[in-house]
Amino acid sequence: MGFTMSEKIMAMASANDGINVHADDIIWVRISKAMMDDVLGPRLEIDDILTDLNASIWDKDRVVIISDHYTPPANVNQADIVKFTRDWANTHQVDHYYEFAGPCHQVMVEKGHVLPGEIIVGTDSHTCTYGALAALGTGVGSTEMAGVLATGITWMKVPRTIKAQWHGDLNAMVMAKDISLKTISVLGHAGATYKTIEYCGETIDSLIMDERLCLSNMAVEAGAKAGLIRYDAITAAYLEKFGVTETFEHINPDEDANYETVLSFDAQELVPQVACPHEVDNVKAVSDVSHVAIHQAYIGSCTGGRYNDLLAAATLLEGKTIAKGIRLLVSPASKEVYDRCLKEGILTILADAGATILASSCGACLGIHSGTLASGEVCISTTNRNFLGRMGSKSSEVYLASPLTVAASAVTGYITDPNAISGGIND
């Protein structure tokens, strides 16, 4: 019996190198990188615990700190937290510190901090994003992070794996976000708890890295520990930008690996999807909710604010104007994405259509600044969570969809299938 990607990656990181590990084993593993953000990073327990332990950071070069949730700060509390985080990084000589650079996960991959086969922990649940680069990224709490900072190791239960196979070509106006929402609706929001989802099949093989990152990012919305995608030529090309020439085929799953469940999907049957309030698995076809009026449309976050997302939205919106009385907010997923879209005129197209371009930030995604929803308001968003009150008021509602669906909805003011709007990328 062969091994899954999680088993291979965890075997390499386990205390006795080379010894095979199996799903359900509880083992101590060496951590390759530790990522902290501002909101749940050093300021929350971690600083106190390290002081209490009288421990120093086990390997400063493996630590990355990113102030993203509270940048730019909306009030004094937030400003103080960013300042604390910056000062902490400085005092602890953590050179990999970023602020005003965008949501942490996009910054991590863009700055070359994620390599295939690594185990990466982060103080944010969407650390599973790194699975797109065949790295086992997973979210941890502050106490666990403090333990990792002091020792470089942590305890893990080797996850069982659900194989999610997608076959065939995607239809026009369908994106990775739709694949993600469909898969989560079948698994249920807790269907992959303590498990890994391995996304595979020729549909996934043909996705560009921006799209793969969206898929892995949302694995935790089915409860998963990680959302892995095998290493291939697309991964290699992406890594080449950071000068990585090493190859990583050895971490790909064996043909006869032991999967707990194998799900099979036909991409040809997939139409644009939307997750309705207040759970990510409450998924319907966009065309089934097209009567819902919106107040805000949001394109941004570590889920749906990458270059390809903004490009898709701009292609659909070029020469059009958003509906009267609604607002379209766009927050590129990183400063790099921002700069590239600015240079290529993508931001101009979006702004001409009526969009407000925001800083690269977490802000609106979790309702803490730059686009908080009022009572009773409805937002359609490219983000990853639609929980009660996620983007603002307890009585607001969030629908999750692809950048194309969000852009189409901004044009009509109602939740709209992008196929109903002319001028899309596949038009």
């Binding site: 749940l40 209490d52 106490t143 807790a190 309702g367 969570r385 009150g389």
Partner: protein
């Protein structure tokens, strides 16, 4: 053996409910008074030390924010019981020394019931309804962490000593 009065909630009590994002910028002590605020503003005011927190499926889903168990801990919660837990929340509880117990029958436990939890033998006794339910025994390695009062003390006592 633990005994206490029950605060009872249903499925999918996620971290945005336990620890609303709007209060994340406060200290844990100040934020604790908003624990569960979106669905039960009374909880933080009326919770008494020793009371048990019981929910059904998928307790603690969503964010990795340790503020959720930390806010519960700040109010005095030491034991949480659910049919099943979201992964990060479960780990966070263990790592900060909160006993997280899986019990398939929490739908039979009601608000204000008084229950006894025998976590070493995997049994819960409901004094109010006189019913027994089985629950998971706590795995050995997790009990080791709990016995040291959480991950940090465990690391101090065991891992940092040997490395």
């Amino acid at each position: 053996m633990i005994k206490g009065k029950v605060w009872k909630y249903g499925d999918n009590i996620n971290t945005d409910i336990i620890s609303p994002p709007a209060y994340l910028e406060l200290s844990i002590k100040d934020a604790a008074q908003y624990t569960m605020a979106p669905i039960d503003p009374n909880f933080a005011k009326a919770y008494q030390i020793g009371d048990l927190f019981v929910a059904e499926h998928n307790l603690g889903s969503g964010s990795s924010r340790e503020t959720a168990p930390l806010m519960l801990k700040a109010l005095g919660v030491r034991t949480v019981i659910a049919k099943d837990f979201a992964r990060i929340f479960y780990r966070n509880c263990i790592n900060i020394g909160i006993l997280a117990i899986e019990c398939a029958s929490t739908d039979k436990i009601r608000q204000d019931d008084v229950i006894e939890v025998d976590y070493l033998n995997g049994m819960i006794y409901n004094q109010t309804t006189k019913a027994h339910y089985s629950c998971h025994k706590i795995p050995e390695h997790i009990m080791a962490i709990i016995n040291h009062g959480g991950l940090i003390q465990y690391l101090k006592d065991v891992e940092l000593k040997t490395t």
